[in-house]
Structures are given as structure tokens and as C-alpha cells.
């Protein structure tokens, strides 16, 4: 599904990602762990195609196609989607209007989907204006439900969400990733950034990666990695140079 080779990324004049290599197969969900400022969000924004992130070396292949030079909407049309940790507030733009714009052809089921994540009362609200942390995340999930991407990047889906809503988010994300299907039948893939790991109680992940200082330092079983980090923190990761 997603294949990244030798990726180097600059923001402004500074290189912030160095030699990233990552492969996520069809039906797989990976988790990306790492301390604050290690470059996790940068990697997601780069994969999505945001213009502030300049790829200086390497390439991104999506479903076998080189998307390295494509703009965000071209990547979105090919099936890449993202749940933002802090999406912008857009004054005047109503959530309902945006959902209709995203759906293009099938506005019929918007309300039904909105109800499933308790966002049906927010249709006439400006996007993210005055939304609580949980509401922002539910709005993001709802947009993804309508966009229906094949590869979903989730940037801290549990941050700012209370415990009750984590389960709702987990179920919704699980369904986006076709977790109810047998593994061999799954076609959706995902990449999740999490700090706390709470969301992993709801979404099974297949592989974990740890990012430090703009590099992916190790790969492995996500639960084991998380357990390690919980016990020892990121200090050892910071010292580790092995990739």
C-alpha cells in the first residue's frame, strides 16, 4: 500500500526527517511512537503532501505509484487520508457544507454517519470553532468516513478525548480500517501516532516503529515496544542509532 524509501524532508532550511524507510502492506495498521518533536507529525504531513514539507531526497510510492511530487488533493483522490491532531478552524465554513463538498456524489448518508459519531448537531457549526478536543476528533473521523480513504493516517486520535469517547473513536476508526473483517480480507491500511497508547486497546496494530530525532530507530511488535517505552521512557531510544 505505502512504500517509503530513503526519505529526507526539510521544513524551511532545516532537514527534519532523515533517511526514512517504511513499508505498510495492504490491510496492515502500523503504529508510530516517539517523543514530542521527533518528527512523527512531519512524516504524516509529508505523506499527505503539505507544501511546507519539502522532500529533498527519496520517494513515496502509494499503491505502486510514485506520488512524491503530487499535491495533497491528488494524493487524497488516490486514497490517502489523514486525521489531524490540530486541524485549523475555518470561520464561516459549516461542517455540513464541508461534508457535502467531500462526498461529491452521495450526500444521502451524511446525517446517518454524523449520528454514529454524535456529530449530527454540529452540521451548522463552523468547522472546529469552539469544538472541544473530543468534538474535533469526532469531526475528523466523520470527514474520513465520508472520504473513505484506503490508507488512513491518524495523528494522536485520542488526544483531548475523554475515556468515554475513546471507545467511540476506537470503534469508528476500527471500522474505517475494516478491523471487523478477517485479516486476509482487509484492504484498508493505517498508520497511527499515539503518545499514550490508549487507542491501541481499541485498534489492533500489526507493527510498531519508534521515531527519534527525525529517524525511525527501531521496528517491532507494537505492544512490546509500547511496554518498553512505558517502562524505560524514550531515553534509550534517543541513544540508540540502530535502524
Amino acid at each position: 500500500m505505502l512504500h517509503i524509501e530513503n526519505l529526507h524532508v526539510k521544513v524551511g532550511d532545516k532537514e527534519v526527517l532523515h533517511d526514512i524507510n517504511l513499508h505498510i502492506g495492504e490491510g496492515e495498521t502500523h503504529v508510530l511512537l516517539g517523543p514530542n518533536g521527533s518528527g512523527k507529525t512531519t512524516l504524516l504531513m509529508t505523506i499527505m503532501g503539505f507544501s511546507n514539507y519539502t522532500i529533498t531526497e527519496g520517494k513515496i510510492l502509494f499503491k505502486g505509484e510514485d506520488v512524491t511530487k503530487m499535491r495533497a488533493h491528488e494524493r487524497a483522490k488516490r486514497g490517502i487520508g489523514m486525521l489531524f491532531q490540530r486541524p485549523p478552524t475555518i470561520s464561516g465554513l459549516k461542517l455540513g457544507k464541508l461534508l457535502t463538498a467531500i462526498s461529491r456524489t452521495k450526500p444521502d448518508n451524511i446525517l446517518e454517519l454524523a449520528k454514529s459519531v454524535h456529530m449530527d448537531k454540529f452540521m451548522d457549526r463552523d468547522i472546529n470553532k469552539g469544538f472541544s478536543g473530543g468534538e474535533i476528533k469526532r469531526s475528523e473521523v466523520l470527514q474520513l468516513m465520508i472520504q473513505n480513504p484506503d490508507f488512513i493516517m491518524l495523528d494522536e486520535p485520542e488526544s483531548g478525548v475523554d475515556l468515554e469517547n475513546i471507545s467511540l473513536m476506537g470503534t469508528a476508526i476500527g471500522s474505517l480500517l475494516e478491523k471487523e473483517k478477517r485479516m486476509s480480507k482487509r484492504q484498508k491500511s493505517g498508520l497511527v501516532i499515539t503518545h499514550t497508547g490508549y487507542i491501541l486497546d481499541y485498534i489492533e496494530t500489526d507493527r510498531g516503529h519508534v521515531m527519534c530525532e527525525g529517524q525511525i530507530r527501531c521496528h517491532g511488535n507494537p505492544r512490546e515496544i509500547l511496554k518498553d517505552i512505558k517502562q524505560r521512557g524514550y531515553k534509550e531510544c534517543m541513544e540508540c542509532r540502530q535502524t
Binding site: 499527505m48 503532501g49 503539505f50 507544501s51 499535491r71 495533497a72 488533493h73 494524493r75 487524497a76 483522490k77 487520508g81 489523514m82 489531524f84 486541524p87 485549523p88 475555518i90 470561520s91 464561516g92 465554513l93 459549516k94 457544507k97 464541508l98 463538498a101 467531500i102 461529491r104 463552523d126 470527514q143 472520504q147
Partner: protein, 371 residues
């Protein structure tokens, strides 16, 4: 349904321009009409019970008491525009009276059409008597053969009596060679409500106006909303002023201004003269192409207990907002249009659906042309 409005000798283009300014010639969504083409009054009638739409001169002959309202809210000596209108031997324009307790949810349309090189002058008086409710859409447009240009001088005086309400939605659809000088003022009595909406999405050479509302009555309310786009050659000096005199009176002045190279001077003034009054002024500007947006918000309070605020911002389209929408699959043009559309989306409480739709339709036309 009221009869169709018959428009003589008008090209298909001009009919389309009339429609874009909100004129519904088939009268499907209107209860009355006033149509003035140049200086000729083509149509003037209203089928709503208790509401009259009369040509100015005829109204003055019919009701002698109207003299009290003539040049009362607006001073005839205010400036050269009012003096010009006051000097006319054959005054044009309309008088709309909603008699006590009457109401029209289906709006009345008033259209002023400029077809030749000249100065078109009108003097309008609108009165909502006690407990009445009046909704008007005023479309102003010029024809395709207006030549080197023309000007429109329009004086409008609004009187909103106790417990009455007027909503006045003005859509300007002029062209690059027209200069427009509306002069209007309103007086609102106890519990009265005045909603004034102004939409100008099309080119105009110059607009200069600064409508004033005096909220005399207790708990009277005024809301002004202006949605304007200035194209490269347009010069728009627009504003609104609210004088809060009655206890508990409140006013809100909202402007959304976009320049595509033209000049917009967005003025606003709220004067809180009595305790318990409230006012808020908001101007948001977006510069799409180098031009000028000059916001001059003024708030003036002179007593303990008046609460006034203002908010003004001029900026550009935010790249992170555009890219956020692009990440959802919208291309750059779609994302930009969606954000601008949102920026211009000012929902006005208390406005009948037909009028909100008309405002939306004006924005639709601008959006289809690529803003």
C-alpha cells in the same frame, strides 16, 4: 398570486440582470413590486393585506400626514446628493406603508433600473406602523446600454414604530461605469427591529453610503450586514452607524469585505448614549488581489452602562486551511472557493427564507464566476 410585472422593451441580458438583482418578474415569491426604469415608474402594487406600495408623488397626494415623515430621518440639506433629490419638481421613488398589525413574510420587491446615461434619483419612505412586519428586497441594476455611465442618487427614510419590524435587503448589481450614492436613515421605536442587508458582488465604479439608524425606543434592535466584493476598478466607501438612545437598545454591524484589486473603505460607528445599551461592530476583510481594505471601526460611549465592542481583521486566505481541504480531496480552486464561501456566509436571524436564498444566489453567481 399577484400579477406578473410587465417590463417593456428589455433585452434578455437586461432581464437576466434584473433577475440577478433579485427581481422576480413572475412574482412567484413576492407579494408586491415597485419597478422604476430610469425615471419612469413601470409598476407599483402590493397584494398583501394592509400593506401599500405607492409611487412617491401619489402617496404624498393620498396621505397628507406623510409630510411629517418627508425629510425627517434624512436631512434635505445633508449634502449635495440630498439637495439634488430634494430639488426635484417631479420626485420619484416609492412609499411603502405597512399599516398597523399587518405583515408580509413573502417579500416586496423594489427595483431601480438604470438604462441610459443620466442621474437616476429616488426618494423612498418606508413605514412599519405599530406591530407590523415588512420585508423588502431592493434590487438595483443597470442595463447593458448604459453607455459612458450614469449615477444613482437614492434617499431612503425608514420609520419602524413600536413592536414593528423591517428587513431591507439591498442587492447591487451595477456595472463598471455607474456611481451610486444612497443616503438612508432609520428611526426605530420601542421594541422595533430593523434588519438591513447589503450585498454587492458585482463591479461598480463607486458606491458611497453611510446609512444611520437611531434606536430611539426601549429595547429596539438594529442589525446591519454587508457582504461586498470590490473588483479591480471598484471604489466602495461603505459603512453603517447606530445611535443607541433607548434603554436596552442594541445594534450589531457586520461586514465581510473582499477585494480583488479595488478599494473598500469599511466604516462603522456605534454611539452608546444610554445605560443598558449594547453594540458590536465587526469587519472582516480578505485581500485576494492587491487592492485596499481600510476598516475604520468607531465605538463611542458616553454613559456608565453602555457596552460596546469591535473586531476588525484584514488578511489573506490561510494556506493551512486550503491544504486542509485539499487533503480531503478538493482541488486548490475548490478549496479556495469553499473557504471564501464560508467567509461570506453571514446568516441573518429573522430574515425570511426567500431573502436569505436571494442573498445566497448572489454569492452563487460570484462563486460560479470564480470569485
Amino acid at each position: 398570486m399577484p400579477p406578473n410585472v410587465n417590463v417593456p422593451d428589455l433585452s434578455a441580458t437586461d432581464k437576466e440582470r434584473l433577475a440577478q438583482s433579485g427581481m422576480d418578474l413572475a412574482m412567484t415569491n413576492r407579494c408586491g413590486s415597485y419597478l422604476q426604469m430610469d425615471q419612469e415608474i413601470v409598476h407599483s402594487e402590493c397584494s398583501a393585506e394592509g400593506i401599500e406600495v405607492l409611487p412617491y408623488k401619489k402617496a404624498m397626494e393620498k396621505y397628507s400626514w406623510l409630510k411629517e415623515y418627508e425629510w425627517n430621518a434624512v436631512s434635505r440639506d445633508k449634502d449635495e446628493i440630498t439637495q439634488y433629490v430634494a430639488a426635484q419638481k417631479e420626485p420619484k421613488g416609492y412609499v411603502i406603508i405597512a399599516h398597523k398589525g399587518s405583515s408580509n413574510i413573502v417579500p416586496i420587491q423594489a427595483c431601480l433600473f438604470l438604462g441610459r446615461e443620466q442621474i437616476q434619483h429616488v426618494h423612498n419612505i418606508l413605514i412599519a406602523e405599530e406591530g407590523s412586519e415588512l420585508h423588502i428586497i431592493s434590487g438595483c441594476t443597470s442595463g447593458e446600454h448604459v453607455g459612458k455611465g450614469g449615477a444613482h442618487y437614492g434617499v431612503s427614510e425608514f420609520y419602524i414604530k413600536k413592536n414593528a419590524k423591517i428587513s431591507f435587503t439591498m442587492i447591487h448589481n451595477w456595472s463598471e461605469n455607474i456611481e451610486v450614492f444612497p443616503r438612508s436613515a432609520s428611526i426605530v421605536e420601542e421594541n422595533g427591529v430593523f434588519l438591513s442587508n447589503y450585498v454587492c458582488m458585482q463591479p461598480v465604479k463607486k458606491v458611497q453610503m453611510y446609512p444611520t439608524v437611531t434606536l430611539e425606543g426601549e429595547n429596539s434592535v438594529a442589525r446591519f450586514s454587508s457582504i461586498v466584493i470590490a473588483t479591480a476598478e471598484s471604489y466602495m466607501d461603505i459603512g453603517s452607524r447606530a445611535i443607541l438612545e433607548g434603554k436596552g437598545a442594541s445594534a450589531e454591524l457586520i461586514t465581510r469585505a473582499i477585494t480583488k484589486g479595488g478599494t473598500i473603505i469599511s466604516r462603522g460607528h456605534i454611539n452608546g448614549k444610554t445605560a443598558g445599551t449594547r453594540g458590536h461592530l465587526e469587519c472582516k476583510g480578505l485581500i485576494l488581489k492587491d487592492g485596499r481594505i481600510y476598516a475604520i471601526p468607531e465605538i463611542e460611549g458616553s454613559v456608565v452602562g453602555t457596552e460596546l465592542s469591535h473586531e476588525a481583521a484584514v488578511g489573506k486566505l490561510a494556506k493551512d486551511e486550503i491544504e486542509y481541504l485539499m487533503s480531503r480531496g478538493l482541488d486548490e480552486d475548490e478549496a479556495t472557493a469553499t473557504i471564501i464561501r464560508g467567509f461570506l456566509d453571514v446568516k441573518i436571524n429573522g430574515l425570511p427564507e426567500a431573502l436569505q436564498k436571494q442573498i445566497d444566489a448572489s454569492i452563487d453567481v460570484a462563486e460560479k464566476a470564480g470569485f
